[in-house]
């Protein structure tokens, strides 16, 4: 029997987890799984529920960099690996809408990161947004980031069903400006973010609520 290789550390998985008997392949080894800082909390901000899966740290930052900037497409499956079944069930009742990168970035990468990550747990995912610039949010100052609403646009002819259960998807939340800009264009009551920056979590500590999303 071939040992599975962890897609992150490239080491062979020594411990055989239970998922091996259910899946064809173990994608992430136990050691790497333990390095994700699971957050699984919900924050209510201006009547919108922000569901956060992980806390953003140097570990997940490195993985995002390798996936998005180094174009290691294989990593698309690792972010939701531990929560795949849970999220598949959860997202069934939502219409999912993904945020986007700039045109230049998409052309360079050849893929849209948020779509690729969430494709495993939900299809189809709507992609009604586009950007008029390709500047990385992380390279901008706090004031400059507030101007994102100027560059994030909605495609005019893109059909969006007007269902009450719309869920906005994004990979990282730092200041929250990108998501705020998206919510101005499409009203959603729920947002699912893979990883939230510790400063954002600290800033919104009082907004944390108990929510059935993570049950």
């Amino acid at each position: 029997m071939d040992e599975s290789t962890c897609k992150i550390c490239l080491e062979k998985e020594q411990d055989i987890p239970i998922s091996f008997f259910l899946d064809d392949e173990v994608i992430v080894c136990k050691k790497c799984l333990e390095r994700f800082r699971v957050h699984k909390k919900t924050y209510r901000i201006h009547n919108v529920n922000y569901h956060i899966l992980y806390e953003y740290d140097t570990w997940i930052e490195g993985l995002f960099f390798q996936f998005k900037e180094q174009r290691d497409i294989v990593l698309k499956d690792i972010f939701l690996y531990a929560e795949k079944d849970f999220l598949k069930k959860k997202l069934k009742s939502f219409d999912c809408i993904a945020l986007c990168s700039g045109e230049e970035k998409r052309a360079l990468r050849g893929f849209e990161p948020v779509l690729e990550i969430f494709k495993e747990v939900k299809e189809p995912i709507a992609s009604p947004f586009y950007r008029t610039d390709s500047i990385k949010q992380s390279s901008l100052s706090k004031e400059q980031r507030k101007q994102i609403h100027c560059s994030l646009k909605k495609k005019i002819c893109y059909p969006i069903r007007n269902r009450s259960r719309q869920l906005l998807l994004d990979d990282v939340i730092t200041t929250g400006q990108t998501i705020k800009a998206a919510l101005l264009l499409i009203s959603c009551r729920d947002v699912l973010v893979l990883a939230a920056h510790p400063l954002w979590i600290e800033e919104h500590a009082d907004d944390q609520i108990k929510h059935s999303f993570w049950k």
């Binding site: 290789t5 490239l10 390798q66 180094q70 174009r71 290691d72 497409i73 294989v74």
Partner: protein
């Protein structure tokens, strides 16, 4: 299938994406598609006549070692400079650097540790003020080209077939030692000769020396001609080691001398900082973000005591520093590590003496080898 950057041939470590295969073993250094040619980011040098601007002239032994190394390099040989800590390995390279620059050749200076990259860059800028010396490491990647490029070994992936002379400092140090991907980067980056420097030899390096892959140039005398500090070894239970460290730091503090306390684990640094707080102790290890600032403050004598992991075991020069090693029998302290640690003491002309204290529960083979090697180097303190 073979990756031309890291030589990976394991099919499990290749991934398929929209019509192309790419290597996953070295993907964190940038995706390398099969069939893609590695591109260097630098331009060729123009010939430059330079001379090092040294505050002190090289000693006769340093000069001899320097010329011998250059002579081997001119014959197309790789060279290993086996020199004691503080003997002036970097200074021995200057003649070779000048010769290669005169021919318009490209020089790289690759080091295992980021902290040392910054220190070596500063030293080279002082010695070669007319040259453009760039540092390339984490946090310093905006400018990638210069007359001499000083970088961590990881960064060599940016420079395929770029360097006519690649100087490799501390070749037996983590993370380079035993890392076959980094070794491939070194092989890919150098299209001429390698000049390796170290005060310690690991088994892999020894094997290559025995196979005559390197010509060896030795120098065990420090420029000030004073012997290497032989550490005093005390066998004590751990609780007594805490007490001993407190007493030693107090003594050195009274003498107005700075101290580095080396500890085996990151989590040990916070305990010692608390214990030694009255002496102005500060921690430093790989997970601390403002390492550069802390080193700068320590150099300016804002801190009297630095509690460090093996992060500072190599390449750092602090005049008049004393060194204490806590739990020297811990597996993290190899004999090479201990030799390097005690090599931090007595490096400067103005402060050629100092104290090195080795605290342990038992005298391991590593500790014994460290002491015997230092004593052997002192006995052979001349160019061989």
């Amino acid at each position: 299938m073979k990756c031309i950057r890291c030589n990976n041939t394991d099919p499990k470590l290749f991934a398929y994406d929209q019509g192309v295969w790419y290597c996953r073993q070295c993907v964190r250094f940038g995706r390398m598609d099969l069939g893609q040619e590695a591109k260097s980011t630098i331009c060729k040098n123009k010939p430059k006549k330079v001379r090092p601007d040294l505050k002190f002239a090289l000693t006769p032994l340093q000069e001899e070692a320097s010329q011998k190394a250059l002579s081997h390099l001119k014959k197309g040989k790789n060279v290993f400079v086996y020199a004691a800590t503080g003997a002036g390995k970097t200074e021995i390279c200057y003649a070779s650097i000048c010769d290669y620059l005169r021919q318009g050749k490209k020089i790289g200076f690759a080091i295992s540790r980021r902290q040392v990259v910054l220190e070596i860059t500063q030293r080279l800028r002082e010695v070669f003020p007319s040259l453009k010396i760039v540092e390339v490491c984490q946090g310093y990647t905006s400018d990638l080209d210069g007359d001499i490029i000083v970088c961590t070994i990881h960064q060599l992936y940016r420079y395929p077939k770029a360097f006519d002379l690649l100087i490799l400092d501390e070749v037996d140090a983590f993370p380079y030692a035993g890392n076959h991907i980094l070794k491939q980067f070194v092989e890919q980056a150098c299209c001429g000769q390698q000049l390796c420097l170290s005060a310690t030899i690991d088994p892999a390096l020894k094997k290559e020396i025995d196979e005559h892959k390197y010509e060896v140039v030795s120098l065990f005398q420090r420029p000030h001609k004073k012997p290497l500090i032989v550490p005093k070894v005390y066998t004590l239970p751990i609780m007594f080691q805490y007490f001993a460290i407190y007493r030693l730091c107090k003594k050195f503090h009274v003498q107005d001398k700075q101290t580095i306390v080396f500890v085996p684990r990151k989590k040990d640094t916070s305990l010692f900082c608390f214990l030694l707080r009255r002496f102005g102790a500060h921690p430093i290890h790989s997970m601390i973000e403002n390492k550069d600032e802390i080193m700068e403050q320590f150099r300016k004598k804002r801190y009297s005591v630095l509690i460090s992991t093996t992060l500072l075991e190599r390449g750092i020069t602090i005049p008049g520093v004393q060194v204490i090693v806590f739990r020297a029998d811990h597996p993290v302290f190899s004999n090479a590590s201990l030799i390097q640690i005690f090599g931090r003491v007595g490096r400067k002309f103005t402060e050629p003496y100092g104290e090195g204290v080795c605290l342990c529960q038992r005298k391991t083979k590593e500790i014994q080898t460290c002491v015997s090697t230092i004593e052997w180097m002192n006995q052979h303190a001349k160019y061989v």
